[in-house]
Amino acid sequence: MSLKSFSRARAVHLMLVYTGGCNGCDIEIVNCVLSPKFDAEQYKVFLTWNPREADVLVVTGPVTRFNEEPLKKIYEAIPEPKAVVAAGACALMGGVYKNIHGDIPSEEIMGPVENIIPVDAKVPGCAVRPQDILSGVVAALPKLLNAD
């Protein structure tokens, strides 16, 4: 393993973007980072709020109309290599908000996240469990490690 991937595996900076979910996933993710019970830092995952510092972008929520542009901007601000983890049912397929009436899609929802930015790992659940978030970040790691 080269020094490059060795160091990347040992300091992962995580950024969260909430795009209009119900707060359930959001609080669970904050819980997974801040609660001593889960403590993401022991897995070398650090929380940051600065896109320039981030490696992994965790997106929750179905991406409402006013969140689409900010999400794109933040994604563009992250330097390569980067990975995106979509967490929660809303981020994966729009959740209950997107397609509740069968074929009639909701006007408000621009998501799922895949429509807006490329997604590398998907974490299912409504709401996601903190453990699943960590495994989702780990699942996205190979992309970071193998990048130039």
Partner: protein, 333 residues
């Protein structure tokens, strides 16, 4: 001086610098893992992650152009800071004491000022995506004050850095003048020689008070919680460092750890009388001081919220008064 002495001096200086960088890289990890994580009852990150692996990782990231009116200057600032810290450490080494004014307290204060001015410039030059950069139609029908000038959050932290220059650095500078008051000389060589003859200042009353003042000043200069108003998460997110990516961010990380070691070495020169020199056992004292200070700082910051000016001013004023008291004691005794 013979040829061999010069060679030895150069070797000693380089070896001490390398040692300082290695210890400096370990310090953030020690602070995070063994102090804060322990207080917070969690396992915490590996010691190497925050200080060593993170800068290496950032070094290999894509070099994006910072969003700044003067990208060149903005990018050069962390490197300038890093060089300044190296200069401070050089000035502390006994091999350099023959250079005269370069190794005086005045020069060190000048270098530390550069560090502080850099924060002002960094804040003013950074235009991050995180506040106004996020497109959001907030000035809509019915918005209050639609025609006000809008500023980025980093402008706020630039203002704060400017204020900190005005009052925040008092404790540290007063503490630096306590040995001067006792010794009567601004040259580090004289201060070290005086202490080696008469015992370390830390054991005298003035020096003991000075230690407290120095420690508060150390925390303010490093912008650690509770004195982190420059880069508090509650409003300015990361403040002046917002736009640094890749190599420049790794310099920011390195500078912080290195500055921790350098200020520790400064303390051991001024108050214990042991300069950093890899060829003497005294280097162990330097390392011990450099580790004890971040540990104490970690304990302080784990137990304190961020101070606004309402709390900041009284702390600075009372520590400055303590510093003045220590100087007066130093002059009298």
């Amino acid at each position: 001086m013979s040829y061999i002495t010069i060679l030895y001096s150069v070797l000693a200086v380089i070896a001490t610098l390398i040692l300082a960088i290695v210890i400096g890289m370990l310090l953030p990890g020690i602070e995070r893992k063994y102090v804060q994580a322990r207080i917070q009852q969690r396992i915490g990150p590996p010691v190497t992650s925050p200080g060593i692996m993170a800068p290496i990782k950032f070094f290999f990231k894509e070099n994006v152009m910072p969003n700044s009116p003067v990208p060149g200057l903005y990018k050069s600032l962390p490197i300038i800071c890093f060089i300044v810290v190296i200069l401070i450490l050089l000035a502390l080494m006994p091999q350099i004491y023959s250079f005269g004014a370069f190794t005086s307290i005045i020069a060190i204060i000048g270098f530390l000022k550069v560090e502080e001015v850099a924060y002002v410039l960094m804040g003013a030059l950074s235009k991050s995506v995180m506040s106004l950069g996020l497109p959001f139609p907030d000035i809509v029908k019915g918005a209050t004050h639609p025609n006000v000038e809008r500023s980025y959050i980093e402008d706020l932290s630039s203002n704060r850095a400017f204020r900190l220059i005005a009052f925040g650095s008092f404790p540290l500078y007063l503490a630096l003048f306590i040995p001067v008051a006792i010794t009567g000389s601004v040259f580090l060589g004289d201060i070290v020689a005086f202490q080696q003859a008469n015992g370390p200042f830390i054991l005298t009353l003035g020096g003991a008070i000075g230690t407290i003042v120095f420690f508060i000043g150390y925390m303010i200069l490093l912008n650690e919680y509770p004195f982190a108003i420059l880069k508090t998460k509650a409003d300015v997110i990361e403040g002046p460092y917002m736009e640094y990516a890749s190599k420049y961010r790794s310099f920011v990380y390195l500078t912080r750890g290195f500055l921790m070691f350098t200020l520790g070495a400064l303390f051991s020169v001024l108050f214990i009388g042991i300069p950093p020199n890899i060829f003497s056992w005294g280097i162990l004292v330097n390392i011990a001081v450099a580790i004890i200070f971040p540990v104490l700082m970690g304990i302080m910051s784990a137990f304190s919220p961020v101070f606004t000016y309402k709390q900041f001013y009284p702390v600075v004023v009372s520590t400055s008064l303590l510093g003045v008291l220590a100087i007066v004691i130093g002059l009298l005794i």
